[in-house]
């Protein structure tokens, strides 16, 4: 297959060469914030994870697409990332679960890709300079470079409204009722909750009164894209709910809960994106290998209520908070694991125990 040459340009002017693949946009380029993901498998889950809205994902593992795609692995109804960067895109997938090649899936969902890129150099650049906006495309390199210069990062933007559900839907038949606030919820979270509870997934804009009117036994705060500091309305909703109902938050949900507990968030240099981050549960001392996908984190020593419950062993970043008196806890990483290891799925059980009135751990 002959592919058109394509270039990738970061906002600071750094340029990479590659070839156009997937969707080929008419305007000749795609822009967004470049982040890298180090997971060796799970590309389809990453591409369809709403938390990547506004971002262009570069996969550090060179061979992507090896085992094709299957609707079973979608983390939402469609891909949300702006584009993908790949070293080697496989054209002939091999796996009994596969329904077709990744490239067809990208075309179908109008996701642009650039392949043949030195993704390691890109990773090293992002590691040194932080997540950077930029653009890539098959168009005139001058045009792509111009697009890169004006491309915006995710700071201060509310991407949640874009990816959240428009209407309420329910899953599961459990005895207890959980309202899940959809800031960009992944299917695997809904699935994990629905195995235990009756879940009502509600739009991110749902007010505290509306949530109460659904008579939840617990409230779940999902993951989602963008800057948590730009979501003041959602934080205020949580402040109202605090203490009235058990709350469990993941990722963006964790950052919002921490803000409701008086904490602040900040942007990490290049975030955590991968399936191999060691986290210590401070209550048990146990280490879990976790899937992570976040650019922002809770600033240390800013919580007015609650305690830090989990930390990242690589860099000490806060990975979880807990406020037993308010019956709420949250983690920065992804215990639902789609993709990623299953080490932290016990947290859903912990949530269930909280709903059953069992005392929560510290």
């Amino acid at each position: 297959m002959t592919r058109q040459p394509s270039v990738l340009v970061l906002a600071d002017g750094t340029t990479f060469e590659g070839y156009a693949a997937g969707h080929v946009p008419d305007e000749g380029f795609t822009s967004g914030e470049f982040v890298f993901n180090t997971a060796l498998s799970g590309y389809q889950e990453v591409i369809t994870d709403p938390s990547y809205a506004g971002q262009i994902v570069s996969f550090t593992y060179p061979h992507i697409g090896n085992y094709g795609v299957t609707p079973l692995d979608d983390e939402s109804l469609r891909p949300w990332c702006e584009g993908v960067v790949i070293r080697e895109l496989s054209n002939l997938p091999s796996n009994w679960r596969s329904v077709g090649p990744l490239e067809g899936f990208l075309r179908q969902h109008r996701v642009a890709a650039i392949v043949g890129v030195d993704t390691r150099r890109l990773t090293r650049h992002l590691r040194a300079h932080g997540a950077l906006p930029g653009a890539f495309g098959h168009g005139d390199p001058q045009v792509v470079a111009a697009a890169a210069r004006v491309a915006r990062g995710t700071d201060g933007t509310d991407l949640v409204t874009r990816v959240s559900t428009g209407e309420i839907y329910t899953r599961g038949v459990g005895e207890r009722h959980v309202v899940a606030l959809d800031y960009g919820i992944k299917t695997m979270m809904v699935h994990q909750l629905a195995e235990r509870f009756r879940v009502s997934v509600v739009p991110a804009s749902t007010s505290a009164e509306e949530i109460r009117s659904l008579e939840p036994d617990g409230v779940f705060l999902s993951n989602g894209p963008g800057d948590p500091a730009a979501l003041g309305d959602q934080v205020r909703v949580l402040e109202t709910l605090l203490g009235t109902v058990p709350i469990f938050g993941i990722c963006l949900g964790h950052q919002l809960l921490a803000q409701a507990l008086g904490g602040r968030t900040f942007k990490l240099p290049f975030g955590h994106h991968g399936s191999n981050h060691p986290v210590r549960d401070l209550a048990t001392g146990r280490i879990e290998i976790t899937a992570q996908n976040h650019n922002y984190a809770v600033e240390p020593d800013t919580l007015a209520h609650g305690v830090v419950s989990h930390v990242n062993l690589n860099d000490g970043v806060i990975e979880g908070v807990s406020a037993p008196s308010e019956r709420c806890f949250s983690v920065q990483y992804h215990p639902e694991a789609g993709p990623g290891p299953h080490d932290a799925r016990y947290l859903f059980e912990r949530f269930e125990n909280a709903l059953r009135g069992v005392t929560m751990g510290a």
């Binding site: 040459p5 990479f16 060469e17 890298f36 180090t38 997971a39 060796l40 498998s41 799970g42 389809q44 889950e45 550090t60 593992y61 060179p62 061979h63 090896n66 085992y67 299957t70 079973l72 692995d73 070293r87 080697e88 496989s90 054209n91 002939l92 997938p93 091999s94 796996n95 009994w96 679960r97 030195d118 993704t119 390691r120 150099r121 990773t123 090293r124 590691r127 991968g274 399936s275 191999n276 981050h277 060691p278 210590r280 001392g285 146990r286 280490i287 290998i289 062993l313 690589n314 860099d315 694991a337 789609g338 993709p339 990623g340 290891p341 299953h342």
Partner: protein, 1097 residues
């Protein structure tokens, strides 16, 4: 948890000699473990019988016993040393089995030795298939349906029940020895019989065959706090049915979705927890049905393994080092990842490249063995290559094999071009060492990917990758104009692993032109870093691989550096001994303050541990790859630092062959021209003549006619051998015209045994020398410095007479029968030769001594196989001495520094080196020793007398010499005189004798009592035959010397029977005499164990 303070001394058991299934990966892991445990403040007591290891260097452990790995010997050592703990998980199956025996015999309990790393119960659960099956059922995991059998009939009943085909696996074995797939009753009966015999507990598992399923391995670690991580996932290119040690394997896993991978990961942890591996590394193997994803657990090893060494090299995560720390109580989060230096070891490495391992076999050295792969491991070594994609790593791995192939894409120069389609398909469907290249030809001819997948079971992703390489290969033809290639076009091939010689070949250009054009286009090799984290964190440990990307990551440095070229894949004739030398070179150079740079492609070795040298390049050893490393090192020199040179003389033939592509000014030590003149027949003869040294008469030949002319002049017997080969490759002793014709035909044929090694030519003629019968062979290792001083480090007297390859022969240091006059001649000759060749560094000279006369056989001005043995036997770090001399230090200086003694050391004890042969893997191969080397490894026995040292060496090599019973003798006519002496000795020791009619007649006529007359095999009327006596356990020792020519069938059957029934079989009289001495001395004096530290004192 911090480290344990209740234990102070730890005994580590090594894995013994290099054998198929247990190679130098255990030197790598054991060395790491010893270093780590000492660094943690523990006293380390090491036992290993293999002198060629870094592990047995006196500096690696506190107390080092080079003693046989045998429970009784271990008990002596435990009694002497009283270790607090025993760590059994780093010495392969050997260490696990010995530990279990010690536990069973109550030794650990009696001496209060705690088994750490893996509890005995966990070892039993993992190793005993019945316990393992039950354990897996407990946690709801599926294993192939199976049943245990203790005899062949039971096996048949189980097979009928499960349904055909079935897999046979003996209990408690290593490397799949004695396993196979049976499709019918006949196959089952053969295999089951072999398997029951191979199993130490006489038990086999008969199980559902899952041949053709996808095969995966996970390398997992667990700490005492129950934290678990996966270090590496490995996918096999060859599906189930081929032993994983014989499979091409790839990391990371390529064709599992995250959902499947995570489920497999959960299973692996469940297995670890259920089996009860409390701390350390394990590997868990899975089979996955490609049709529906059904997953079965195949087996788990509760210890470090070949795969864990590969995983360590593939990811940069040092499993053995961390396993050792976990065993003394640390948890994963308390251990730093020493590549990033900031993150803890409690993480799962991610990589941003592809790693491919390809095994290397030695079927060409084992006539009689069928070159088919199965569930019994047969490979003797392996290579690993790293690339940014599968194609690049595969092609790099192929050229790392050093089998004359520049890559996977062979153009039209493969032997498979001549195959018809049916034969080609057969070569792919039946797994063979050459399957990859048969697949190339099939794809080239247009076979469909679907058909290949259907018939071979190899995953379509891999086949598709191969097809894509071929698509690019087709684009490269003499019609393309390389001058027009831009960066993108060049990268299309270079990023897919095409070497410059490959491109040159395909495009009909010369290699230099390709390299020049490529570089002119701006396409240069870049070096990426292996960092465990896909660049997420900054890495400080410089471990590099080449690729063709935008930027290179080699860090500049201001220190002068030396590049050491390693020895590539292990093979018969070039193994761990040379890796030992390269590692020592690095140690010595680092001590001298230089920066060291290692280049090698063998994942099993200590040299490819990234902490051995200042920089490691995991690269094929080819002129192009090495040139790129040198260029990168030069580019990384700042502040006037220089590349001082390249060491080519310590890694065997591999780096020597490369030396011709190097700037001669860069070659350190002995000049390349000198090395060549020692190899070149005519120059070498001229040197000997000018020095007045005697050589066996001989000449060179290119054809049979020329060979006949040579023989007419010198007479039979003659030694026939090709030039420029190692390990006596294709060497034979020829006694008559018919054999001469056969040997010459094979050597000169286009598809003969030398076809892929360059064939025969004017510059590589066949050498024919008069063969000195019954001469004593002697090896001398020496070092010469730039001032001309020579230090003779060791004189080794071979046990077997000249004619048995020195690598296969036992030898003793100090020499036992040589007169003072002969010894002084040997010293003088060695100095003369070293002087005339201008040697700077090591030289090895082989001599034959007959009737007090010294003949020079050959000289090799480079490191020899015996360097580590000499070092262990004398306490002189010979390789380090050589390297210091190569860097310009004088021997005189080194004497003053105490690095080397003033004169040849004469130890007060005797050390015997014995070869270990792989015959138990290859039932069809005759075990008679000859000029072609076939041993895979060696052991060393140390004692107060030669007899004790020899007996220890025999035990270390696998057979304990008997103290009583019956000896069966069958001797060739020319051996009968000496055989008489042996028979008398044995009779005096109280053995009864059995002998063949001819031998018995001779012995009886000289007054020796022969109790049993043994007939020809299969001819009952001539009395009981040898094979049935051996099978019945009526023989404790066999001395069987083959006749010089003619029918060998009977002897071969006898020797095969010895292998099957594990009866010691000696094929030379000299070995028999040594054994008799060993038995006598053992009886008279008993054995004492002693550490190297005591011996060298």
């Amino acid at each position: 948890m911090p480290k344990r303070v209740d234990i102070h001394s730890i005994m580590v058991i090594g894995s013994g000699p290099i054998v198929i299934g247990q190679a130098c990966e255990f030197d790598y892991s054991g060395t790491q473990a010893c270093q780590v445990l000492r660094a943690e403040g523990y006293k380390v007591i090491l036992v290993n019988s293999n002198p060629a290891t870094i592990m047995t260097d006196p500096a690696t452990a506190d107390v080092t016993y080079v003693e046989p790995l045998d429970a009784d010997v271990l008990i002596d050592i435990i009694e002497r040393e009283r270790p607090d703990a025993l760590l059994p998980t780093l010495g392969g199956q050997t260490a696990l089995n010995l530990t279990m025996e010690l536990v069973r015999r109550g030794v650990t309990e009696r001496f209060g030795v705690e088994v750490i790393g893996a509890r005995p119960e966990a070892i039993a659960t993992a190793e005993d298939r019945d316990l393992f099956k039950t354990a897996m059922a407990d946690i709801g995991l599926a294993v192939p349906e199976s049943g245990f059998a203790r005899n062949v009939d039971e096996a048949y009943v189980i097979a009928e029940d499960i349904g055909w085909p079935v897999m046979i696996r003996p209990s408690f074995i290593l490397g799949g020895s004695g396993t196979g797939i049976a499709h019918d009753e006949a196959q089952l009966r053969t295999l089951a019989g072999e398997g029951i015999a191979a199993s130490p507990v006489s038990e086999i598992l008969v199980e559902r065959s899952v041949a053709g399923w996808k095969e995966f391995e996970l390398e997992v670690m667990r700490d005492a706090a129950d934290n678990c991580v996966v270090v590496c996932g490995i996918e096999n290119f060859d599906p189930m049915g081929v032993h994983t040690g014989d499979s091409i394997t790839v990391a990371p896993i390529q064709t599992l979705s995250d959902v499947e991978y995570q489920a497999m990961r959960d299973d692996a942890f469940a297995v670890l927890r259920r089996v009860g591996v409390e701390t350390g590394g394990s590997n868990v193997q899975f089979a996955v049905n490609p049709v529906d994803g059904e997953r079965l657990v195949i087996e788990m090893n509760p210890r470090v393994s070949r795969s864990s060494a590969l995983a360590s090299k593939a990811t940069g995560f040092p499993i053995a080092k961390i396993a050792a720390r976990l065993a003394v109580g640390y948890t994963l989060d308390e251990i730093r990842n020493d590549i990033t230096e900031v993150t803890p070891a409690s993480f799962e490495p991610v990589i941003d490249y592809v790693v491919t391992k390809i095994p290397r076999w030695a079927f060409e050295k084992l006539p009689g063995a069928t070159a088919e792969l199965g569930t019994r491991m047969q490979s003797v070594g392996e290579v690993m290559a790293i690339g940014r994609n599968f194609a690049e790593s595969l092609q790099k791995a192929v050229r790392s094999l050093e089998q004359g192939r520049a890559g996977f894409a062979l153009g039209r120069h493969s032997e498979f071009v001549d195959f018809d389609l049916e034969r080609l398909w057969h070569s792919c469907v039946v797994a063979t060492p050459e399957r990859l290249f048969a697949l190339h030809e099939l794809l080239w001819r247009g076979a469909s990917i679907d058909d290949i997948v259907e018939r071979t079971g190899i995953d379509c992703w891999f086949i598709h990758q191969l097809a894509e390489i071929i698509e690019r290969e087709r684009e490269l033809s003499p019609d393309v104009v390389l001058e027009t290639f831009d960066v993108r076009r060049w990268r299309r091939y270079k990023q897919w692993g095409f070497s410059d010689p490959q491109i040159a070949e395909l495009c009909g250009r010369d290699v230099e032109a390709v390299t020049v054009l490529r570089r002119a286009a701006g396409v240069v090799t870049t070096f990426n870093t292996v960092d465990t984290c896909a660049a997420e964190f900054e890495a400080s440990t410089p471990y590099h691989y080449s690729t063709y990307e935008d930027a290179s990551e080699v860090r500049p440095s201001s220190r002068d550096r030396v590049i050491i070229l390693g020895s590539g894949p292990n093979r018969i004739g070039q193994g761990i001994e040379f890796d030992y030398c390269c590692v020592h070179a690095s140690y010595a150079l680092r001590d001298m303050g230089f920066e060291t740079v290692m280049v090698n492609c063998n994942p099993e070795t200590v040299s490819t541990d990234y902490s051995t040298s200042d920089r490691l390049y995991f690269e094929p050893l080819t002129p192009e790859d090495v040139a790129e490393v040198i260029a990168a090192e030069r580019a990384a020199c700042v502040d006037g630092a220089r590349v001082l040179g390249v060491i080519v003389s310590l890694g065997g033939q591999t780096p020597l062959k490369l030396s011709h592509s190097l700037d001669p000014a860069l070659v350190l030590g002995t000049p390349v021209a000198s090395i060549d003149s020692a190899e070149d027949r005519e120059q070498w003869s001229a040197i000997c003549k000018s020095l007045g040294l005697r050589q066996p008469p001989g000449d060179v030949a290119l054809t049979l006619a020329e060979a006949r002319t040579v023989v007419r002049a010198i007479g039979y017997p003659v030694l026939v051998r090709p030039s420029y080969v190692l390990g006596g490759r294709a060497m034979e002793i020829v006694y008559d015209d018919a054999s001469l014709e056969r040997v010459m035909k094979d050597l000169t044929s286009e598809h003969g045994s030398l076809a892929r090694e360059g064939g025969v030519s004017q510059s590589r003629p066949i050498l024919i020398d008069s063969f000195l019968e019954d001469a004593i062979e002697v090896d001398v290792d020496a070092v010469r410095d730039t001032r001309g001083d020579v230090f003779v480090a060791g004189v080794m007297e071979h046990v077997e007479e000249a004619g048995v390859h020195s690598g296969d022969s036992a030898c003793a240091l100090p020499p036992q029968t040589l007169s003072a006059a002969v010894l002084s001649t040997l010293h003088a000759h060695t100095k003369k030769i070293a002087d005339s060749l201008g040697v700077v560094g090591l030289i090895n000279v082989q001599y034959a001594v007959k009737d007090e006369e010294v003949f020079v056989l050959e000289a090799n001005p480079r490191a020899s196989r015996t360097v580590p043995f000499v070092a262990k036997a004398t306490g002189v770090a010979l390789a380090q001495v050589a390297v210091r001399v190569m860097m310009g230090q004088s021997l005189r200086e080194l004497v003053e520094l105490g690095v080397v003694p003033a004169a040849t050391p004469v130890p007060h004890y005797v050390s015997v080196k014995e070869a270990v042969l792989p015959f138990n893997r290859f039932p069809g191969v005759d075990t008679v020793l000859g000029p072609e080397m076939r041993s895979t490894g060696e052991v060393m026995g140390v004692g107060e007398s030669f007899g004790i040292a020899f007996a220890k060496a025999q035990l270390a090599a696998g057979t304990r010499l008997p103290d009583q019973g019956q000896v069966f003798m069958s001797l060739a006519d020319r051996d009968k005189v000496q055989g008489l002496e042996l028979a008398r000795l044995l009779a005096d020791l109280g053995f009864t004798l059995a002998a063949t009619v001819g031998t018995a007649g001779y012995l009886r006529s000289h007054g020796v009592v022969v109790a049993t007359l043994v007939g020809k095999v299969g001819l009952a009327e001539m009395g009981v035959d040898a094979v049935s006596m051996i099978a019945a356990g009526d023989v404790q020792l066999v001395v069987n010397t083959p006749s010089g020519s003619g029918a060998r069938a009977d002897g071969a059957l006898i020797r095969a029977a010895c292998i099957v029934h594990a009866v010691s079989c000696l094929t030379t009289i000299s070995a028999g005499l040594a054994a008799a001495k060993g038995i006598a001395d053992t009886r008279a004096q008993g054995w004492r164990v002693a550490s190297l530290q005591e011996l060298h004192r």
